[in-house]
């Protein structure tokens, strides 16, 4: 069953740890519970968005460096 990964906070979503680094995970990658999927920047603080279960990243619904709302769906894990 596919689970939604939601952003707990409003802010800017990043898929990379820093601009010149690779993305944390790609669509189709397997992830383990606790793996970092991306960062949400809120007021100069970074919040790590983690996988809440083992699975495969089906899709990212938010692009790197885009604005997101609290509760918005970031990705789907199946």
């Amino acid at each position: 069953m596919a689970d939604k990964v939601l952003s707990p906070l409003p802010g800017i979503f990043y898929r990379k740890p820093s601009p010149d680094k690779d993305v944390y995970v790609n669509e189709g990658d397997s992830v383990k519970e606790g793996d970092i999927l991306g960062l949400v920047e809120v007021m100069k603080n970074f919040y790590e968005v983690k996988a809440e279960k083992d699975g495969v990243i089906e899709k990212f619904h938010v692009e790197n460096e885009s604005e997101i709302e609290a509760g918005q769906e970031i990705a789907t894990i199946s």
């Binding site: 802010g11 800017i12 820093s18 010149d20 920047e41 809120v42 007021m43 603080n45 460096e65 604005e67």
Partner: protein
Amino acid sequence: MAYFNKVLIANRGEIALRIIDTCKKLGIQTVAVYSEADADAPFVHAADEAVCVGPSQAKKSYLVVDKIIDVAKETNTDAIHPGYGFLSENPDFVERCEKENITFIGPSADIMKIMGSKLSAREQMQKANVPVVPGSEGKLNSIEEALETAETLGYPLMLKASAGGGGIGMKLVHSREELERAFDSTVQQAESYFNDGAVFLEKLITKPRHIEVQVVADHHGNVVHVFERECSVQRRNQKIIEESPSPFLNEEKRAELLEAAVRGVKEIGYTNAGTMEFIFDEDGSFYFLEMNTRLQVEHPVTEEVSGLDLVEWQLKVAAGEKLPLVQEDIQKQGHAIECRLYAEDPKTFFPSPGTIEKLTVPSENVRLDFGVIEGSKVTPFYDPMIGKIIVHGAGRSAAIENMKRVLDQIEVEGLTTNLDLLKQIMENKDFVSGNYTTQFIKSLGLEGVS
């Protein structure tokens, strides 16, 4: 007579409002630039003209040099005030202003570059006989050189990136093994963040106080200080409470510090307002840390004790005027304290964006430098500071009592703020006795998120 016809403020929030106030007093027209997230912010309404410069993210709006310059040209702006943060310490921006014949209200690009590098700033201060934290002579070229230097200095040490700031590119090492582990990664981090991999070692000051000196210099060789500010109450390397004068200094030590700050500023030929930051050891030794080549967030405590308008002085200096007063005529009176009200959890320090549903503040015996009003949105895109609360008193204990009274009258609803922490600090015996270091917030048992 106005020094400029029109000034553009390349900033937002409370500091934009603060600068607009002085411009109005002096009959100078103002231009605000704002991001989409700030379209309805008080500073946008306060300016004579306001131009949107892009989307909410700072790097797409407030940090885009081309857009800011375009607006300045379109609006026939004479001068740009950068406030603090954003482009205020960016020498490329200053050079661009110089090229476009727009006065940048601050120092020259060359001086900004020198002071932007911790290594070159240290070198300049050593030339002026201003003490710097004991450490390596210049850049460390290899891990071998670092280890050798470390043996001479003795652990614990701070490994620092020359171009670092805000806690990035800084690593505490207690032993040879830790330095070996930290060296390459710190160099790499410095290269990727700041495009400059130069690192050096400094002795760790274990119970430090952070005390800084306000300076102003004109283009005619005049340099004055406007006393010191004590800024040791910090969380995550950011200040929460500042005061002037510092409760730690006696008159002799104060004179020594102020004199050293002025000497350093003269050495580099600095112009406009700036802040010399020093770190104090338990035994009263002090060392130059860095210079902030701009107006500080906490400048109001200096204004409250001196009666000066530092933004007015910045405008005068930028217009080529001489400093309005000589050192002997700058006097301090009483004691001032500033509390920073942050939209963040008072225990974890985690930010709390939201809408200010209700904001009740007292109006007497307090200076409030706020960027928001009731109904304002505090968005996730910028700093969590929503306002500064500044009080004055005949002495330190009177100022603390005033601050307590003011804090008790403040009510904010709709988002979480650090108001309770500020109240707690005003009652804390170590704060009240003036006996505190930069470890103070940690000593309260509070832990910030990392």
